[in-house]
């Protein structure tokens, strides 16, 4: 097996190169298709809101030896609740009972009934009653966070990278991530809780973080790209993505490992809850975020920037240069970036090119 470091070497020197930019239409097309599917899923199936968004009551009993669900139904029936009661077993020794909205008295009665039925202490039972307006408040705030975050980030990235196109394509890639992650929840019908919303909002930070690292490499490689005629802007972008590929893979693996361990422990040992909800959203979002920073963000950037006259002019100059140089120049092209090649002195070709007087 080829070692990762060696793989990194080949990607770095351009010896091995994936055509992320070359096949950008395919990647962006797939991205758009996924967004469309997510939108359709969202429209047709919708999300499965948790009790926090529906309004209602939820009781969680822990430390029970006999997780017989029927006892819970008996208790709720005794309190006049015949419909809309959901009982689920969590992990190994816990039970969750969800009902519609209850009054304080009803909730108190059911709580006491459950304590009696399952012979647990008052400390072992967790109860939540949520008014129907709570979910709305949460949703409004989440949307506000999203809008403000996008605004602030657009400005910061725009200033840092000195081109609005980078911040625009980073944000577009971000929207792609969020939409598809939400689509995942629509597809699987996993319950959405406030913890899920936290997870989704964290993806904002993570996905952008990942994209910014790749973009920073692009910025580094493309500063003064007009000063050379060996590579077009898009080729430089592709090289940057390839050079940071090992980093992207390593980073996402390292970020996914803890998240995966929470997800595993959260869902197998604890059942549903804050930890599982956060980690599931993060798990899905991190994978999509990594993929989008490689396959969507950078190709999108080239798509946006290639419309610029500056880039088009440069592209034609590169083409001219290549024609003039012929096949013999290929060696130089390879050595332009990468380790020093012994005996391959580039002579005056290594000097910065001087623009023709007419172009200055």
């Amino acid at each position: 097996m080829i070692s990762f470091a060696e793989f990194g070497n080949q990607l770095y020197s351009g010896e091995k190169s994936f055509g992320f930019v070359k096949y950008r239409k395919v990647f962006i097309g797939v991205g758009l298709a996924l967004i469309l599917i997510s939108g359709l899923l969202l429209g047709l199936r919708g999300l499965n809101p948790g009790v926090e968004f529906r309004g209602g009551a939820e009781f969680t009993i822990t430390g029970i030896s006999n997780a017989d669900q029927n006892k819970a139904y008996t208790v709720t029936k005794a309190n006049g609740l015949n419909e809309g009661v959901r009982v689920a077993t969590l992990g190994t020794n816990a039970l969750r009972i969800q009902t519609q909205t209850l009054t304080q008295d009803q909730a108190e009665k059911i709580r006491n009934g459950l304590i009696e039925a399952y012979k647990v202490k008052a400390a072992d039972i967790d109860s939540t009653t949520i008014g129907p307006s709570w979910g709305k408040t949460v949703t409004i705030k989440a949307i506000w966070s999203l809008v403000i975050f996008l605004g602030v980030i657009a400005v910061i990235l725009g200033i840092y990278f000195r081109t609005w196109k980078m911040s625009a394509s980073a944000l577009l890639a971000l929207m792609h991530d969020i939409t598809i992650t939400v689509g995942f929840f629509a597809l699987t019908q996993v319950e959405i809780s406030p913890a899920t919303v936290i997870g989704l909002l964290t993806i904002l930070g993570y996905s952008l973080y990942d994209t910014v690292v790749v973009y920073d490499k692009i910025r580094e490689l493309t500063t003064d790209f007009e000063g050379q005629r060996r590579r077009t802007y898009s080729e430089l972008v592709n090289l940057a993505v390839n050079q940071t590929l090992v980093r992207s893979i390593n980073t996402s693996v390292v970020a996914l490992l803890p998240v995966a361990s929470i997800l595993f422990i959260g869902s197998y040992l604890l059942g549903a809850g804050t930890l599982r909800d956060i980690s599931l959203a993060l798990f899905v979002g991190t994978i999509i975020g990594t993929l989008s920073s490689i396959f969507i963000a950078s190709p999108l950037l080239t798509l946006l920037r290639e419309r610029e006259i500056k880039i088009q002019n440069h592209n034609s100059r590169v083409a001219q240069f290549r024609q003039g140089q012929g096949a013999a120049s290929d060696e130089i092209l390879e050595s332009a970036i990468g380790p020093v090649q012994v005996g391959a002195h580039q002579g005056q070709k290594a000097q910065p090119s001087r623009k023709a007087r007419s172009r200055r």
């Binding site: 970020a255 929470i262 604890l270 930890l275 290929d330 012994v342 005996g343």
Partner: protein, 616 residues
Amino acid sequence: MARTNTTRRATKVLLSLVVLVLLATSALLIGNLWKKQPLTPSLALDLEGGTQMILAPKADANSKGRKNVTQEDIDQAIEIIRKRVDASGVTETEITSQGSSQGGQNIVVSVPGTPDKDTLDLVRSSAQLRFRPVLLAGAPNPVNPTAHAGKDGKPGTPTKDLATAAKETADANKDGKLETKPSGKPKDPSDTAWISEQNTYDFFTRDCAKEPGRHEGTDDPNAAIVACERDGSQKYILGPAEMEGTDVSRADSGQGTSSTGQATGAWVVNLTMNAEGTKKFKALSERLFALKSTDPTRNRFAIVLDGAVVSAPSMNAIIPDGNGQISGNFTAKSAASLANQLKFGSLPLNFDVLSERQISATLGSEHLQKGLWAGLLGLLLVVIYLAWQYRGLSIVALGSLFTAGIMVYGAITLLSNHMGYRLSLAGVAGLIVAVGITADSFIVYFERIRDEVRDGRPLVSAVDEGWARAKRTIIISDMVNLVAAAVLYFLAVGGVQGFAFTLGLTTIIDLIVIIMFTHPLMVLLMKVKFFGQGHRLSGLDPKHLGATSGAVYVGRGQIRMGTGKDDASGMEGTGLSIAERRALAKREEESHSSAAPETVVEKNDQTEKAEGGSQK
């Protein structure tokens, strides 16, 4: 020269970090020894167990002019809820406002343990401001009616204990029971006939100096009550409520003016009533003003908030237009406070209970335990992966993660001791997620160093150059994370605040660690043979990283054929000049086929093969 300077600087930076960590640790230890502060962070309700209520204040749509809930109202509401909960004897209750004004502010009340229903009802109900006439006023302490004052004015020795004596004296009709009905048929609210036997008993026994707060069932608007001045300085029997807080339309504090319009310099509270309030206040003031010369006690009226008297001014004039002014020994602060209370009473602020959670302590500790296990497992996996990818460098990564871990723990414990921070389950999740983000900084840094090595730089300068480039990337990407954390924190939704806080905190600590620990450590490690010369297992082996043939451009037109064994300062190289090398390369090239791109790849493959062979 430059080398020793950078190492010296690295040592300095590293030492200052050690000092910083030591300072934090000693702050923790001192706090622990002297103030008995715990060495572990305090836990939020979802880990500790307790009851949490999220209340959304809503202004009554019927009231004129006050449809919006302002920050001031929220603060006032929190103040009132706190007073109520404190009065009920529940300690360590946390009451905070949450969210920003755009999405509507919520009040979060967190009561540890399992509070009784009465306490919770107390929190849920809205504040009641009432105006009542004063019927009787006295000293705040309990009075034993059998202890007759001696000649010196001091109370004598009581003949019976307080409860019995008070009951006997209060039981006017001697039937052995304390009536709660008024003793006579009162003709107006100022009539002392309102005072029931129970009121008399309460007035004797109640100790306002000790517990001036509200007493259960003592705020019936249609009966006389016994109430204390809020600061515990006086005790009153008050007539039935004549006005409600809703009758007040405006209240503010300011400097009083004399009849000639000159500022008197004294602080006053100005009251404005609405139409109905004006009528009621006119009637009240006419009746009370009439008593001014004859009965100075019954000349007063009490402003009662939640069963406690906030102020009990005397009525010095008939107020027909609903514009009153309360003067007295106010300071700027106390006047503003009274005005706020009046204003708040005039705002019918009701609470919608958005959510009420009773969190099981067992569930909480189980979550914490499992969460920590998950964190450890995640950390272990990260360490294994890093060791596989970065070999020797993973020691640096591990050390940095460890340092970051200590700093995060210290910071959270200090914050919890001094700023009241509480670690919640979402916060724990934030910490676990942060492992990945922190480790990424090292990955970016290491990859940059490797890139520089691949470019053929000697290791030492690769570390410098790699750092210069990685620094920018790390700072901008951490900035993005910080902004995300800040936005989440300030627009908090439920548990998001705890999560955003730990995320932001770990991002900052990540920056500190990579700048003050990881990089200096790398610089210093370059002095160690194992790393500095790129040992095969150090993860920095130039050959392994594809610095083809280890050739390094050493200046003066010379290229050194580095083998990783040469001294970094070695300038001998191959000893060939450019021309000689060019000739050599040409010869080599001729031995292969012509220069197509594929050839280059092939050539490299061969070089690597050859190297592999020589290593065996």
